[in-house]
């Protein structure tokens, strides 16, 4: 963040010296990153570099072997996915964590359903609120009663994101949102992210394998290599070409070893 003077505002999310291994494999060695409020950060890196692992730790699915997580400057220990969600951190996975056989509104409310006094599901209320929320976010689907299996990839993704936003996530983690998606569908998601950015309340980390796609919508890029963040620049100060060079060089180096 060159050029800015004065006290820097507290990041929405900070990660310090994070490490995680699975048996013989060290996924994360010493990861340090931060995410400012209202910022969209791209986390890129080669396959198997550890991006998904980092995401899973940040949303409470895994526990780290070492390191701290700070939320708005305060250290937190994430005990579970539910706990992380209650603190405002939510993730949207590659498989979207959507259940194909369930309707849009059931998926919107998955694990946070509304119930009647009889403890049965309050389908009518959930239907109504889901419809309102999706309209508000500009997500276009024919009906909230449709099973998500019948929707397109872009629509499913949108619902997954809408679900997180509805649950008042302040830090949103998107895992490869554009994977296996065509240009037109991908545009839907990018619009959604821009919309979130415009509102200024949600901070987003996008994990992307294909960073060319996300270059436009992100404010800053971090490159995860060898379990560490080796590159951290604003998108305005770098280019797709520079990133590509870095990655190719790394590739060449690893081949000669």
């Amino acid at each position: 963040m060159s050029g800015i003077t004065g006290p820097t505002p507290t990041p929405a999310l900070s990660v310090e010296h994070m490490a995680k291994g699975f048996g013989a494999v060290t996924a994360l060695r010493d990861v340090n990153l931060h995410l400012d409020k209202g910022e969209v950060l791209a986390l890129v890196g080669d396959n198997g570099a550890g991006k998904s692992t980092l995401l899973k730790i940040l949303c409470g699915f895994h526990r780290p072997d070492a390191g701290r997580i700070l939320l708005s400057g305060e250290e937190v220990t994430l005990k579970s996915v539910d706990h992380a969600r209650s603190l405002g951190i939510d993730a949207v996975y590659q498989d979207l964590a959507l259940v194909n056989e369930l309707t849009v509104y059931h998926n919107m409310f998955l694990n946070r359903e509304m119930i009647r006094p009889t403890r049965l599901l309050h389908n009518r209320a959930m239907r109504k609120i889901a419809q309102e929320h999706l309209d508000q976010m500009g997500v276009n689907i024919p009906s909230v009663d449709v099973e998500v299996a019948k929707l397109s990839g872009g629509q499913r993704q949108a619902i997954a994101v809408a679900r997180s936003v509805y649950s008042e996530a302040r830090v949103l983690l998107l895992d490869e949102p554009l994977a296996a998606m065509g240009a037109k569908e991908g545009a839907l998601i990018l619009d959604l992210v821009n919309d979130l950015k415009a509102r200024g309340e949600v901070s987003v980390i996008i994990i992307a394998h294909n960073y060319a796609q996300v270059f436009e919508v992100c404010d800053r890029i971090n490159l995860l290599q060898h379990g560490e963040i080796t590159f951290d620049k604003r998108t305005s100060e770098t280019s797709v070409a520079e990133l590509t060079d870095l990655v190719v060089e790394e590739y060449r180096r690893s081949r000669t070893q």
Binding site: F61, D95, V99, E101, L102, L110, N111, L121, S152
Partner: protein, 350 residues
């Protein structure tokens, strides 16, 4: 709405102009459409068709005491199927429930005759024992990560062996002390049916209108996604295993009271017969073996279809050997009809 208009809507190209005005239908048409839309509609039609066929063949098919027969051939398997549907939907299966079915009346007998327990307490105790067996099944599958087919297969032999050993493979008499309650628990004509209807209604509501049912569907449909969403899929599976075994134990007690004897061969020589019937009923009724979708009322109708086939062909007078040929062919035919009607139903919805 025309097919193209709907497809456009799904693609995100909704426009309000250009869609035809909504036609108003009479209440009868609305009721018909509401019925046809349900996934149980097709198996219901098959059940009614069989009813009419056998009745036209032999009017005694619908005589009162044959209706009692039919209900007694349906109820125990529908009861087991109510739990089995939940378990199948959550992505698992329990092969051992037939052995639990055979063991539980013996447990009741031991409790009453060797430990002087009150009959009602003994009945509840046997059902709880069934739940414990389900708990063990759940533990082996969820914690030890053994696939449920194999795990419950092992449990089947274990429970069958326990039953045969403790009973010395000898039939036992219904305890005298239980004579007072046996009317409520299977001996009187309609008691099995009444229990069956209560249990099926309860679990149908659980599957379709409760969080447990929703999480069950999620666990079976997208186990990884469900757990990523924070659903405790392990707990769901534990619970469904316990429900299935407990219902198996209850069905075994009902049948023991119905035939007025506790037999080591009541589940067939291999302890699997009631389980097969229950799973068949569930699948015929519309529950997917692979998990993620199912219907409890459908399983009841599936059990009814199987009972109609057995009872009806027996009434006609088919002998035991060709009987199996006819039963097998009839099951396949019913399923083909079911699948065909389902396809019609789905096409009609567009």
């Amino acid at each position: 709405m025309s097919e193209r208009a709907v497809q456009d809507a799904i693609d995100g190209k909704t426009t309000t102009a250009g869609t035809p005005p909504v036609r108003r239908h009479g209440p009868l048409r609305l009721a018909f459409e509401a019925f046809v839309v349900r996934r149980e509609a097709t198996i219901f039609i098959v059940a009614v068709a069989l009813l009419l066929y056998f009745w036209s063949n032999n009017s005694d098919f619908l005589a009162r005491n044959n209706l009692v027969n039919l209900s007694q051939q349906t109820a125990p398997y529908a009861i087991i199927a109510a739990g089995m549907v939940l378990l199948l939907v959550s992505g698992e299966i329990d092969l051992s429930v037939g052995a639990v079915f055979a063991l539980s009346p013996f447990l009741m007998h031991y409790m009453i005759d060797y430990y002087g327990t009150y009959p009602i307490v003994a009945i509840i105790g046997s059902i709880l024992a069934g739940a414990v067996i389900g708990l063990v099944n759940g533990f082996v599958v969820v914690v030890l990560k053994v696939p449920s087919f194999v795990a419950t297969l092992g449990m089947l032999f274990l429970i069958l062996g326990i039953m045969l050993t403790t009973s010395h493979a000898y039939p036992a008499q219904i305890p005298e002390a239980a004579h007072g309650v046996r009317g409520w628990f299977g001996q009187s004509d309609w008691s099995e049916l009444i229990w069956c209807l209560i249990i099926v209604a309860y679990f149908h509501v659980v599957l379709t209108r409760s969080r447990w049912g929703l999480y069950t569907i999620a666990t079976g449909g997208n186990p990884l996604g469900a757990s990523e969403a924070g659903i405790r899929t392990g707990r769901i599976k534990f619970g469904n295993f316990m429900v299935t075994s407990a219902l198996g134990a209850f069905a075994g007690i009902l049948e023991a009271f119905r035939v007025d004897s506790i037999d080591p061969t009541s589940a067939g020589a291999d302890g699997a017969s009631p389980m097969f019937t229950a799973v068949s009923a569930a699948v015929i009724g519309g529950t997917a073996l692979a998990g993620g979708s199912g219907t409890v009322v459908g399983a009841l109708l599936g059990a009814l279809v199987l009972a109609e086939l057995r009872n009806g062909f027996n009434l006609i007078g088919i002998n035991a050997n060709p009987f199996n040929i006819i039963l097998g062919a009839a099951i396949i035919l019913s399923m083909v009809l079911n699948v065909y009607l389902t396809r019609l139903r789905r096409a009609g919805r567009r």
